[in-house]
C-alpha cells in the first residue's frame, strides 16, 4: 500500500525545515529523533520536549525557537507518514532520498525507525477511538452464609468489577454479581467469542 512519493509533494515549509535539519550536528540528531518517534500517536496537545528541554536544545544546537519547532514538526511528520504506510527501513531510505535530506540524516532516520518500528506500530494499531475501553477486571468470590430472612445458607457467588476506561470522561466501573449458573452462561458466551477469534487466526 506504500504510496509512490510520500514526502516530496509537501509544502515549502516542510522543505525549509529539511534545510534546517541538514545543518544539524549528526551526532546529536539521532537522540532527538528517538525521542520524537516515541511520541508518535500521542495526544497532539502533549509536548514532545518540555519547555526547559526545548530551551536547552536551542542553546546546544544554536537555533531560534521557531527553527527548533519547525524541525520537530518535520521529523514528527516524517515518522507519522512512515508509520501510516508501515514503511520498512529500506523503503524509508528510498523515500527520503527523493527529498533534499542529506545522507547522514537519512541514515539517522532509518536507524531510529528500524529500532522503534515494531513497538511504535504495535502501539498505533492498538489505539482505540471507542469512548469506553475495558481496562482492568477485578473479582471476588464468596460463599453466602446467611441473610436477614434466612439462616444456614451456603451459596457460592462472585462479584466482578469491570473497569471501563474513558478518554474524555471519568473512568467508570461496572459491578455485576453472578451465581454459578449465571457465570456459566456468561462463560459460554465468551467461548463463542473465542471461537470466532480462533476462526480469524
Amino acid at each position: 500500500m506504500s504510496a509512490t512519493d510520500i514526502f516530496t509533494t509537501t509544502s515549502s515549509k516542510f522543505n525549509d525545515s529539511l534545510v534546517l535539519i541538514n545543518k544539524l550536528d549528526s551526532s546529536k540528531f539521532p537522540r532527538i529523533l528517538s525521542r520524537i518517534v516515541q511520541k508518535i500517536g500521542c495526544d497532539k496537545s502533549e509536548r514532545i520536549f518540555s519547555q526547559v528541554e526545548e530551551e536547552q536544545l536551542q542553546g546546544v544546537l544554536g537555533l531560534a525557537a521557531y527553527e527548533l519547532k519547525a524541525i520537530i514538526e518535520a521529523c514528527s511528520f516524517i515518522f507519522e507518514q512512515t508509520a501510516y504506510y508501515s514503511l520498512s527501513g529500506n523503503s524509508l531510505i528510498a523515500q527520503l532520498q527523493k527529498t533534499t535530506l542529506q545522507n547522514d540524516k537519512i541514515t539517522a532516520f532509518q536507524s531510529v525507525w528500524t529500532e522503534n518500528a515494531e513497538s511504535t506500530l504495535q502501539q498505533l494499531r492498538s489505539k482505540s477511538v471507542a469512548p469506553l475501553v475495558l481496562g482492568d477486571i477485578g473479582w471476588r468470590f464468596h460463599l453466602q452464609m446467611s441473610q436477614s430472612s434466612m439462616s444456614k445458607i451456603k451459596q457460592p457467588s462472585a462479584i466482578f468489577e469491570f473497569d471501563l476506561k474513558s478518554d474524555s470522561k471519568k473512568d467508570e466501573k461496572m459491578v455485576l454479581e453472578f451465581n454459578k449458573e449465571q457465570l456459566q452462561d456468561f462463560f459460554l458466551q465468551l467461548e463463542l467469542v473465542q471461537a470466532k477469534l480462533d476462526s480469524l487466526a
Binding site: R125, K127, A158, F162, E172, E177, F186, Q189, V193
Partner: protein, 224 residues
C-alpha cells in the same frame, strides 16, 4: 432437650400474644387469616421495581381491609375480644411462618414445637397443612429474594477486524465490542482488546473452577 424450638429460646412476643386468644377463635376465622399471611409472604420482596411495589401495596391494602372486616365480625359476637384481634393473629401467624422458613425447620419439628405452645389442635393442623404444602416454595422464594449487586441482564458482542485507522494504514487487528445491560437497567458499550479479552475469559473460567472446587469440599456441602 438438646434441640431448640424453631421459635428460638424465647418465644417472640408477637407469637405469645396469640396464645390467650387462640382458644376463643373459630377455625374459619383463623383459616382466613392464614390465607392472608400466605399471600403476604408470597408477594413480599426485597428488591422491588416500581410495578411490583404498587402491586405489593395493593395486596397489603387488601389484607388490611379484610382484617378490619373479619375483626369487626368477631368482636360483635364476643365483646371480650380486642378489636385488633385479627391484626394480632395475623402478626403471630406471620412470625411463626417466617421463623419456620428462616430456620428451614422440618414439618415434624414444626408440629412438635407448636404443640409445645399449647395451641388448639385444629389451629396447628391448619398451620401444618399450609407449611407442608408451601415449605419448599417459600424457602426457595426467600432464598432468591436477597440483596444483590446488579446482575447481567443482556450481553451482546461483536468481533471486528480493524482494517486501517488515522494512525496507520494497515492494522488487521481484531477487537471485540461488548454491550452489557445490568438488571438495574444500566447499559454500557465498550471495546475490549484481544489481550483484555483473554484476561476476562481467564478470570471468568478461574472463578468458575473455584466454584466447582468448592462443591467438592465435603465440609461445605452446598445447598442446591
Amino acid at each position: 432437650m438438646d434441640r431448640i424450638s424453631f421459635l428460638g429460646y424465647n418465644i417472640p412476643i408477637e407469637v405469645k400474644n396469640i396464645l390467650p386468644l387462640a382458644q376463643k377463635l373459630e377455625q374459619a376465622f383463623t383459616r382466613h387469616i392464614v390465607a392472608l399471611v400466605v399471600s403476604y409472604l408470597k408477594s413480599k420482596k426485597i428488591d422491588q421495581n416500581q410495578q411490583e411495589y404498587e402491586k405489593f401495596n395493593q395486596i397489603t391494602r387488601d389484607i388490611h381491609d379484610k382484617l378490619n372486616i373479619s375483626s369487626s365480625n368477631i368482636v360483635e359476637k364476643d365483646n371480650t375480644l380486642d378489636s385488633n384481634v385479627s391484626s394480632i393473629v395475623f402478626t403471630g401467624i406471620y412470625y411463626i411462618l417466617k421463623l419456620a422458613i428462616k430456620t428451614k425447620v422440618t414439618v415434624e419439628y414444626f408440629q412438635t414445637d407448636l404443640n409445645e405452645l399449647k395451641l388448639p389442635a385444629p389451629f396447628i393442623a391448619d398451620l401444618q397443612n399450609v407449611y407442608t404444602k408451601l415449605r419448599k416454595e417459600l424457602i426457595e422464594k426467600v432464598q432468591n429474594d436477597k440483596i444483590l449487586f446488579p446482575q447481567l441482564e443482556t450481553f451482546k458482542w461483536r468481533v471486528d477486524v480493524i482494517i486501517s485507522s488515522s494512525f496507520t494504514s494497515r492494522v488487521l487487528n481484531p477487537v471485540i465490542l461488548m454491550e452489557i445491560t445490568d438488571t438495574k437497567g444500566k447499559e454500557r458499550t465498550f471495546e475490549v482488546s484481544l489481550d483484555t479479552f483473554h484476561k476476562l475469559r481467564y478470570n471468568v473460567s478461574k472463578v468458575l473452577k473455584d466454584m466447582e472446587d468448592l462443591d467438592q469440599l465435603p465440609i461445605l456441602k452446598i445447598d442446591k
